[in-house]
């Protein structure tokens, strides 16, 4: 009996988490080397649900691939077909008309704010702040309703097509969107204040899972994970695409590099996204929303965008037929996984889930 009651605080052991585990929603395998309550080393193994999508893409025509790439991941689901279409347009020299460019930004930013809200909501859930979690999800629900009303689906917008966008907005929808976004903006201001100052949130998240600016450079981290450690990088500003060059927005950074800073970056970015959409609605140019299609020649092209989780990169190799020879994409989560061993070094076991969630990892993207 006394044996069973001996605290294991001093013992070293290995704790496997995943690939199927009650505390994990997605299949990923973590092998934690523990010293009592402290994590000393982390090993991550992926590949449990690899779907072979890049190979599928080389068996489908250019139109089918717009839809296939939208299914890479549900939270970044607009960024994938968007970047893929940019790559095809780069190769074929198709110029998307201004209205199409603006509508593309609109879809992308609506998705970004919903994605960020989801992640900070889950963070509240992980630290056991269920009422806040429910509230954040309810605020996100306003974005979901906007998506469902404009695009016809809560996650897969089907907004992009090669040469522009498939959808349009009339004056009723413009007004509906602006009204609801203003509601979200009000909620976001409140949430930013709560996340910034709430003692319980601060106690659980500040100083936890820290990466330094040096780690950011060494590991090639991207997106909110990099920006929360002070690295002001954002593809939307660094190499503007679609209508981002015409729109005003700040690249949000925080200094802490910890779980708390990452949540703050996401919340403030969500507010920035709402601002971008409101601007785009105000400046929406008239005219065509998609270009005429031309033949897609043989050759290679790349495109990159800022997805909610960071830089997303597409490479396309075509041979002049209507099926690509090779389509390859590099997702932001792929880089950010590498931050976990650094973030978890010497952390408490109880913080593991919190830290994993703070990089907003997408297993779906990683296991493309």
């Amino acid at each position: 009996m006394s044996d069973l009651l001996t605290p294991c605080a001093q013992k070293s052991f290995t704790l496997p988490i995943g690939p199927l585990h009650v505390a994990l929603e997605e299949p990923m395998y973590f092998k934690l080397d523990l010293d009592g309550e402290r994590v000393r080393q982390v090993e991550i193994t992926a590949g449990h649900v690899h779907r072979g999508m890049e190979s599928l893409a080389a068996k489908r025509n250019f139109f089918q691939n717009v839809v296939l790439t939208e299914r890479v991941c549900s939270l970044c689901s607009n960024s994938h077909p968007f970047t893929y279409c940019l790559a095809v347009e780069n190769l074929a020299g198709i110029a998307v008309p201004p209205r199409g460019q603006y509508l593309r930004v609109l879809a992308e930013e609506i998705k970004r704010s919903a994605s960020h809200l989801f992640n900070v909501g889950i963070m509240a859930h992980v630290i056991g702040y269920k009422s806040l979690f429910m509230h954040v999800m309810q605020v996100r629900e306003i974005m979901q309703d906007i998506k469902e009303t404009i695009f016809g689906n809560r996650m897969d917008l089907a907004a992009n097509c090669i040469g522009g966008v498939t959808y349009d907005l009339d004056s009723t929808l413009l007004e509906f969107t602006a009204d609801n976004l203003n509601r979200v903006a009000g909620h976001l201001a409140e949430l930013i204040d709560i996340y910034r100052h709430d003692p319980m949130i601060k106690a659980r998240t500040q100083g936890v899972g820290v990466v330094s600016p040096k780690d950011v450079a060494a590991l090639g981290l991207v997106g909110p994970v990099a920006r929360a450690a002070g690295a002001a990088m954002d593809v939307r500003r660094d190499s503007p695409y679609a209508a981002y060059g015409d729109l005003e927005f700040a690249v949000i950074t925080e200094e802490g590099g910890d779980v708390h800073s990452r949540a703050m970056v996401r919340l403030r970015e969500a507010r920035e996204s709402v601002g971008i959409v409101l601007q785009a609605l105000g400046k929406l140019p008239g005219g065509e929303r998609r270009a005429r299609l031309s033949a897609i020649p043989a050759g290679e092209a790349v495109a990159r965008t800022e997805a909610p989780r960071g830089e997303l990169f597409y490479y396309l190799h075509a041979d002049g037929s209507d099926v690509p020879l090779r389509l390859k994409w590099r997702v932001p989560s792929y880089l950010n996984w590498d931050a976990l061993p650094v973030m978890m070094k010497d952390c408490a076991v109880a913080d593991v889930t919190l830290i994993v969630n703070s990089i907003d990892p997408c297993v779906s993207c990683t296991e493309r």
């Binding site: 489908r60 025509n61 139109f63 089918q64 691939n65 717009v66 839809v67 296939l68 939208e70 299914r71 009422s131 806040l132 509230h135 309810q138 629900e141 309703d145 469902e148 009303t149 404009i150 695009f151 016809g152 689906n153 897969d156 089907a158 097509c161 498939t166 409140e190 204040d193 709560i194 100052h197 709430d198 003692p199 319980m200």
Partner: protein, 178 residues
């Protein structure tokens, strides 16, 4: 915490945020992509929808006797992406907001929409022919002095011959390939 208490009280006073489905209709916007439907009167049988469909949910096949073609949409294979609607030149294939697609497993092969679109016979040579839907023919021939009701009854080959003859007469030469 006190900051959040304010919100908590506000949310409590507001009452439940969820729709009381199934006792009441759930929020369903007009543009909701719920189910793919075909209007066979407008369909040309061009197959663009089948070409762009990522899930291969659309089947389009002439029957053996070439009396027409069958058109099937398999709802369980459909990803509701809307590509077919986007690319269809006539607006024959669309999506409606009916999202009540749940069905028992035993009905999975019945969860589809099947049509048979008959061919007409070309007025010139009798070849099977899917005529342009009247609305589309009217749009295409809006600025033409030709009687489009006759033109649409001809297959592409016979239409070529008819045009050659007509143009020949107009310029006073006979259509003589020699």
């Amino acid at each position: 915490m006190p900051r959040f208490l304010k919100i908590l009280v506000r949310n409590l006073l507001k009452g439940p945020a969820t729709d009381p489905f199934p006792f009441q209709e759930a929020f369903t916007p007009d543009r909701l992509r719920g189910r793919v439907v075909l209007n066979p009167d407008l369909c040309l049988g061009c197959g663009i929808c089948r070409h762009v469909c990522p899930g291969e949910a659309i089947r389009l096949e002439p029957d053996e006797g070439r009396t027409g073609y069958s058109f099937s949409i398999w709802h369980n294979t459909c990803a509701l992406c809307g590509s077919c609607r986007h690319f269809c030149p006539t607006g024959a294939i669309t999506l409606n907001a009916d999202w009540h697609g749940a069905h028992p497993q035993t009905d999975k092969y019945r969860h589809a929409e099947h049509h048979f679109v008959p061919y007409l016979r070309c007025a010139g040579c009798g070849a099977p022919l899917r005529p342009l839907p009247p609305g589309i023919a009217a749009r295409l021939y809006a600025h033409s002095p030709l009687d489009m009701t006759q033109v649409v009854k001809l297959c592409p080959d016979c239409r070529l011959t008819a045009t050659a003859k007509r143009e020949g007469e107009r310029y006073g030469t006979t259509a003589n390939p020699g």
